[in-house]
């Protein structure tokens, strides 16, 4: 009798865990990072998001007012106000740590939206201004929506680029961030682990 009850419970448990664990995203995004350096260190990260065709269609329909398949200045401002700025409440889906301390993003700059074919592409810049000396710094940068409305994957082509990095020794890797698993721990986000320091002169 107990065995049957156990079977029922295992089945039931599995079912409910399934219900909470298996992803349910509505929007799919391809993400690419460009780490931008300057003379003093890491200036920030330039983000590129390619939105899926279906969500892109709704943004194009709502904001490409003259239907010319190009977002003009006014339309870009409207996209920013209507379909981007609210992401501030979600830290722009960014999960950034510098030497294991969390960094909250207070603002982003240079927002731009473009239409490529049938897809909308967002660009924006996250200022970090991390000064770099000869001691190695470790930056963790992940882009994921832990409400799981959006599924954000790294772009297959060039997920990470380095810009103006000639003064620095840099290396990066994509790693699992197990301690920040979400949706009941079933989804483990992948983050970029960037290590950098000033080159010896």
């Amino acid at each position: 009798m107990k065995i049957y009850l156990k079977k029922f419970l295992i089945l039931f448990t599995f079912l409910i865990l399934n219900a909470s664990a298996f992803g349910h995203p509505h929007v799919f995004i391809e993400n690419a990072f460009t780490f931008v350096f300057d003379d003093t260190g890491l200036a920030g990260i330039r983000i590129k998001w390619i939105l899926d065709e279906m969500f892109s269609a709704s943004i194009i329909m709502d904001y490409d007012w003259n239907n010319n398949k190009i977002f003009e200045e006014k339309e870009i401002k409207a996209v920013e106000r209507g379909a981007f700025i609210n992401l501030k409440n979600f830290n722009y889906f960014m999960h950034i740590t510098a030497n294991n301390s969390d960094l909250k993003i207070s603002y982003v700059t240079g927002f731009k939206a473009e239409i490529f074919g049938d897809r909308v592409v967002y660009y924006f810049f996250i200022p970090l201004n991390i000064k770099v000396e000869s001691i190695k710094k470790i930056l963790g940068a992940g882009c994921y929506d832990n409400t799981y409305f959006c599924d954000i994957a790294y772009s297959k082509a060039d997920p990470v680029k380095l810009e103006n990095a000639s003064l620095y020794e840099c290396s990066w890797d994509i790693v699992d961030d197990k301690k920040n698993a979400y949706w009941a721990g079933f989804i483990i986000p992948k983050i970029i682990l960037l290590q950098f320091r000033k080159k010896n002169e």
Binding site: Y4, L11, F12, A19, M54, A57, N86, N146, Y182
Partner: protein
């Protein structure tokens, strides 16, 4: 063992509370309760399965848009049926994720004596209303109000959600009071033996449309995006057909969840049938828990929209 079993059910069910999905691109404020970061670890093969399912969803979503454009150009029946199949599979997988009132369905089937057939009908009705609600909303939004999806995600969605969540809380309160009055206060000891038989007769008479309407009222975001996409390529009717196919897929998933809940409850009670007193207590406890979960879930969702 039985107490432990019940505790597991309660804990897992409660663990799912607070899963309400809003589009972060438009919806004001990041609801803290949506952030469910946990350090739970699962075996690698489970991670692999979840990953594969996520990739499949991404591919299905992409295929839906590419093939919709293709059928718009070529009017090919082969592509049309392929598209229907993809929408159906997308619906099945889509409903596996959080949302779509599954916790309410599980709790409702636990708190009501139901047959498997009724579980199937409940799943079909919820899914149909969930999709129909999306079709009506998108049609009003785009053809009558000439509004936008981003505008929808603000006030209209808030109002619909408030009504739905308020009704869910009301339904939970009704079921809870009903269970307390009918099963706890009025039930005499000598009625206990015949209680299950009475329940079986009662549930045939139950109307499923009202709970289905309450649970399915909030429009399906997936169907909304498919419909808006179809309007953008001037194929509104294709969007309705695809949303319908997706709805069938969702109905399959929701019905299976309903059936398994009913069977689990029935099986657990049947195994205890030798001890009728225990059956009565456990059966009533499950119903009270189910109704309480609906009430709490409805209230949490309702107040999360107000605050």
């Amino acid at each position: 063992m039985n107490k432990l079993a019940l505790c597991i059910i309660i804990l897992i069910t409660l663990g799912n509370i607070g899963i309400a999905q809003d589009n972060p691109f438009f919806t004001k404020n990041a609801p803290e309760e949506n952030k469910q970061i946990t350090s739970a670890q699962f075996p690698g093969f489970i991670q692999m399965i979840v990953n594969e399912i996520n990739n499949l969803q991404r591919e299905l979503n992409a295929s839906l848009s590419v093939l919709s454009r293709k059928i718009n150009r070529e009017h090919d029946f082969g592509v049309f049926f392929l598209l229907l199949g993809i929408a159906l599979i997308y619906g099945i997988i889509h409903a596996l994720g959080p949302g779509h009132g599954k916790i309410i369905i599980i709790s409702y089937t636990l708190s009501n004596p139901m047959k498997a057939k009724q579980g199937i009908w409940l799943g079909i009705l919820i899914s149909a209303i969930h999709t129909l609600s999306a079709i009506i909303l998108v049609s009003i939004l785009y053809f009558i109000l000439k509004s936008t999806y981003s505008n929808y995600s603000q006030e209209p969605k808030k109002i619909i959600s408030l009504v739905s969540y308020g009704l869910i809380a009301g339904m939970g309160a009704f079921l809870l009071i009903n269970t307390i009055v009918r099963d706890i206060l009025k039930l005499k000891k000598n009625e206990a033996d015949s209680k299950l038989k009475v329940e079986l007769k009662q549930h045939r008479k139950q109307k499923l449309i009202l709970p289905a309407l309450i649970i399915g009222l909030v429009p399906c975001e997936g169907a909304i995006l498919i419909l808006i996409f179809s309007i953008s390529i001037n194929s509104y009717w294709l969007g309705i057909v695809l949303a319908g196919a997706m709805s069938v897929g969702m109905a399959l998933t929701i019905s299976i969840i309903g059936i398994i809940t009913i069977w689990s409850k029935k099986g657990a009670l049947k195994l205890l049938s030798a001890k009728t007193g225990v059956v009565r207590i456990i059966s009533t406890t499950i119903q009270v828990i189910g109704a309480t979960v609906i009430l709490i879930f409805g209230l949490l969702l309702f107040f999360s929209k107000i605050i």
